[in-house]
Amino acid sequence: MTDTTIKVDMLARVEGEGAFKVVVRDGRITATEFRIFEPPRFFEAFLRGRDHSEAPDITARICGICPVAYQMSSVQAMEMALGVEVSQPIKDLRRMLYCGEWIESHVLHAAMLHAPDFLGYASAIDMANDGHAATVKLALDYKKIGNAIVTLLGGREIHPINVKVGGWWKAPKKRDMLALREELMRALDMAEAFVDFTASLPFPDKERDYHMVCIEEPNGLYPMYEGTRLISNRGLDIPATAFNDHFDEHHVKQSNALQGRTKAGGAYLTGPLPRYNLAYEKLSERAKAAAVRAGLGREVKNPYRSIVVRAVESLFAVEEAIRLIEDYEEFDPAAVAITPRAGTGMGASEAPRGMLFHQYTLEEDGSIATAQIVPPTAQNQPSIEEDLAELIADELDRPHEEIQWLCEQTIRNYDPCISCATHFLDLTIDRA
């Protein structure tokens, strides 16, 4: 196989619409392209003029799979712009909401979207029909717990309604929290079993030396909700507010998509691997033990093993939610009062698939003057293309269909959430 083009026009088992192309000339990869043709939906534009209070509800609609991430980054940015500090109980509940999304999204991705790649099935339903029914059932039951958290705190699993700039609309009842705790306790076994399932998958033996970036929380917690700083394995350590000083969104001619890069032009990686590598110590003992049992080292550079990291993070999220419930006391009022003012604010949090950065400037009356939203998939896009070039290079003598599948599997390592096309470009013009 010397000259060929591997092309998938409709990338399946991802959220949204994407495509990719790998061009091979003389047995070498000469170009890779990961394209997102999700039609532009102009969120940043129509946020202008809306009230600050509407940001969590509106930005949630960017992505149906990680709406909580959008809500979490947006409320933090707004609170900063408005100069309000929310209480610890408010933050704790938000972290718990995020735990729900992590579980639900990680398990969905790992079991329903990614695992079929490792086992050679078109879908989880095919998996279930071919001897893996117990695993799929386990994953569904487990995922449901994540949804139960989001539903209790947020009202519903998709586009939760209870998140508010300044806090919450209504704090949950302690007795409902305790009932949920019972379910979560039962989920611990599922969580462990799920780690073991992901660990049992066959992994391509490949590693890459990524520039890994994630948020850092102020209180020594595993990175999730409150990104006050941004750190990396190459020594980056900056306040989150300095995001735009260190990262750029390039408009690369070849791929015609906005891509997040460091100011120096380098690709970087956000998501489970960076979090794990940079904050391993902050995982719970049980999660660490599960990681060891799953054969994960202290450092993980094999992107295919991100599926195991997701399972470990999900286990952690179950424990974390239990911890937060145990600390919970009902509080009232559920939100701090807001007085509109002009200002600028940033919010960075860890969506299941990576760091999500929001920045807003507000007018005097609290309405939005400008909005900037940098979703994880935009940041990971250059890294995805590099993966395609480097990880596939020595597989080129395999049959076309196998290479194509491997490429897809490689992209799905990222759990790319393409619907968050707040500002991806339509790439039809590149088809020539």
Binding site: A12, R50, D51, R61, M112, K144, I161
Partner: protein, 257 residues
Amino acid sequence: MTGRPRLAVWKFSSCDGCQLSLLDCEDEVLAVANAIEIAYFPEATRRDDDGGNYDISFVEGSVTTPHEAEAIKDIRARSTTLITIGACATSGGIQALKNGASTKDFIDAVYAHPEFITTLDTATPISDHVKVDFELRGCPISKTHLIELIAATLAGRAPQTPAHATCIECKMAGHVCVMVAEGKPCLGPVTHAGCGALCPGYARGCYGCFGPKETPNTASLSARLAENGADRRQIKRLYATFNTNAPAFREEAKAHD
């Protein structure tokens, strides 16, 4: 339909949330897969569109590009029953906020190289383009509705997704009306039921995810919102969100320009 009906799930401009609802039916999704053949559902399976006909097509998302405007016609031609799921597909969704605004300004606001953007000036519901057999409301749809829709379709009965006010669900749930007891603006009285009156249950006013109800009296509600202290801009914003292009809401928003 002989044998299991073939289902396809299609995506237009949207957030994926509505089709994700199907995968969020953890207790039912395997039963659904037994009852119907999930023939094309790229979010969940690698299986390609085989170019054939489908008994049921679920369509998520609104039409925002010339390509989408063409694609929906082909899908209609190959679908026996075409059901739109969610606010995007039934009214245009939040992206319809660009309708009436200058698309060029929007593109300039977001993109460095506007010349590369191919998009229509509007986000429009599927029913503006092809005949739709049934519309499931919501941003996102309710998964109970989705299961009910599938169950009803299989049983040959009309799905119970009543078009009356959210207030009915609110009272049935036993919530205390946030408008009457707290003066919070609530779109419940003009909003199609379906969510179970979630927002009032969380002490906030309904923001209209399910779009206009049957015979909505938006003018009367707006008058009340104004009496309760909402200014014109707030009232306009309330209607101009997730179902901004649904005629009743669009007109009421316009009346508050």
